[in-house]
């Protein structure tokens, strides 16, 4: 996350020059397109063009790690609010189940002209669905965006469900809300070679609910991109 970049003096006049003369009012519908993956509470953020919740190819911020490894939006919301973001946390009032949708009405972005979204994917170690700084159109209308699944690159994808592993630095998948996986796996891998934010390679899983290499089910907990559909109505 380039939180610091918004503080660059050069960014300020650029922001002012490109900011809207009027507040933008948005309706946003977010759909989980997957067959078996849950989204943790969503962070929906409007902000200026220099701010990013995450960027592919960059290292995850500490705040993003907290979201991607444990599903907690609080730190990222607080940090970005301090930099001018207007955030909406947890619009679905809990997890967004596979194939479920949540509708947000009248999200007032004020003069912020970018939209970002992030939520952890469960069950994964540090996978998340993300929208990185989408330019909010000035023209009223309905716009559809499809989101991919990312890997924060901050935790080894061992695919083992372990209570308490939502804490940053504690290895494991904190929960499987569908309760449809396994346990007592030996671990898919012990290394994470790409420590930058990247497109998630997907869960491996297995079909052994009492052992095997993984605690997730290969028939249920895989996905193909895109994993989310976002319909934004600019009013």
């Amino acid at each position: 996350m380039r939180l610091k970049s918004i503080l660059k003096t050069s960014a300020l006049p650029l922001l002012l020059a490109s900011s809207f003369t009027q507040a933008q009012m948005l309706d946003i519908e977010i759909s989980n397109l997957t067959h078996g993956m849950f989204f943790t509470p969503l962070l929906v953020s409007s902000h200026g063009e220099s701010l990013h919740l995450f960027e592919s190819g960059e290292t995850a911020s500490d705040e993003l790690k907290i979201l991607a490894e444990g599903g907690d939006t609080t730190s990222l919301s607080v940090a970005t609010t301090a930099l001018g973001a207007i955030n909406l946390e947890n619009p679905a009032a809990g997890v967004l189940a596979p194939s479920a949708s949540v509708a947000i009405t009248d999200f007032d972005t004020m003069s912020n002209d970018r939209l970002s979204i992030a939520a952890m994917l469960l069950p994964t170690n540090d996978g998340f669905v993300g929208l990185d700084s989408w330019a909010i159109p000035e023209t009223a209308g309905t716009y559809t965006i499809y989101l991919n699944a990312y890997d924060a690159g901050s935790e080894v994808n061992n695919e083992l469900v372990l209570d308490g592993s939502g804490a940053v630095g504690t290895l494991g998948i904190p929960a499987n809300p569908g309760a449809n996986g396994g346990s007592a796996g030996t671990g898919v891998t012990t290394t994470e070679s790409n420590e930058m934010i990247h497109i998630h390679r997907g869960n491996v899983g297995d079909t052994n609910n009492m052992g095997g290499v993984s605690d997730v089910d290969s028939r249920i907990h895989r996905w193909l991109n895109p994993v989310a559909k976002v319909v934004v109505t600019v009013k």
Binding site: H35, V204, G205, T207, S218, R219, L224
Partner: protein, 242 residues
């Protein structure tokens, strides 16, 4: 050829021929309210779907021309029985019957399976209406209940000779667990049972997670590495020809 005609052909070639002869007017009576006052032309579209999977034959392609309100499925909602039959067995005829009942302008069904690497082209036509939407759908037959398609493509603004091209994703009907077990997959990978009215999966339509296959450690699967796929699985080209 719409579904009624397709079914009639099986019974009687003479009957099918006579129905084809009057096909230009068979949908007129109940659609006058949606007709454009300024257009009286026939609209005809050439629809081509190319199978770009490695080894997932497509069931005979179904194409529907309809108004903007008609839908064949909805993400996050339960499949209709006719969509379940299509997604589990590849038989699109009940789905097209439903589409006809819902007021489709025209429905078309391909003659046969579309093998990987090959394409199918169907022509579909209608009198002129203000709302002109096109939907396509087909099963990936070496799966439990995967289908590809796109619905509600607005073709009303296409001029004669204009084309639209897009890639198609792969959906999961959510009606049959993706167990990949012998006897459960109708395609040549298995030759198993197609449709069963048992619903033992999520019971909502979602994007498909892909198949696992025996090559990826699922030893009970009848699928091998050749049956794996990623999205997109098909290329769609729509050209207005009249």
């Amino acid at each position: 050829m719409n579904v009624k005609k397709y079914m009639a052909m099986g019974l009687s070639l003479a009957l099918a021929t006579s129905m084809t002869a009057c096909s230009d007017s068979d949908n007129d009576n109940d659609k006058n309210d949606k007709k454009s006052s300024s257009k009286n032309d026939t609209y005809e579209y050439q629809v081509t779907v190319t199978n770009i999977t490695h080894n997932q034959p497509f069931s005979p392609l179904a194409v529907v021309l309809h108004d903007n309100s008609e839908t064949l499925w909805a993400l996050g909602e339960a499949s209709t029985t006719s969509l379940e039959i299509l997604a589990e067995s590849g038989n699109a005829m009940p789905l097209l019957d439903d589409a006809d009942l819902a007021g489709a302008y025209d429905t078309e069904l391909g003659d046969g399976v579309v093998p990987p690497g090959e394409m199918v082209t169907l022509d579909i036509e209608s009198d002129a209406y203000d709302e002109m939407s096109l939907s396509v759908v087909s099963m990936l037959v070496n799966t439990n209940d995967a289908f590809t398609g796109k619905q509600g493509i607005d073709v009303s603004a296409l001029e004669i000779g204009d084309s639209l091209q897009m890639n198609l994703p792969v959906y999961d009907a959510g009606t049959e667990a993706n167990n990949e077990l012998a006897g459960s997959i109708p395609g040549p990978a298995d030759g198993g049972v197609g449709y069963s009215d048992v619903r033992d999966d999520t019971n909502v339509v979602s994007m498909h997670p892909g198949v696992v296959s025996m090559a990826d450690g699922y030893t009970d699967s009848v699928l091998d590495s050749s049956h794996r796929f990623d999205s997109p699985v098909a290329k769609l080209v729509i050209t207005r020809t009249q």
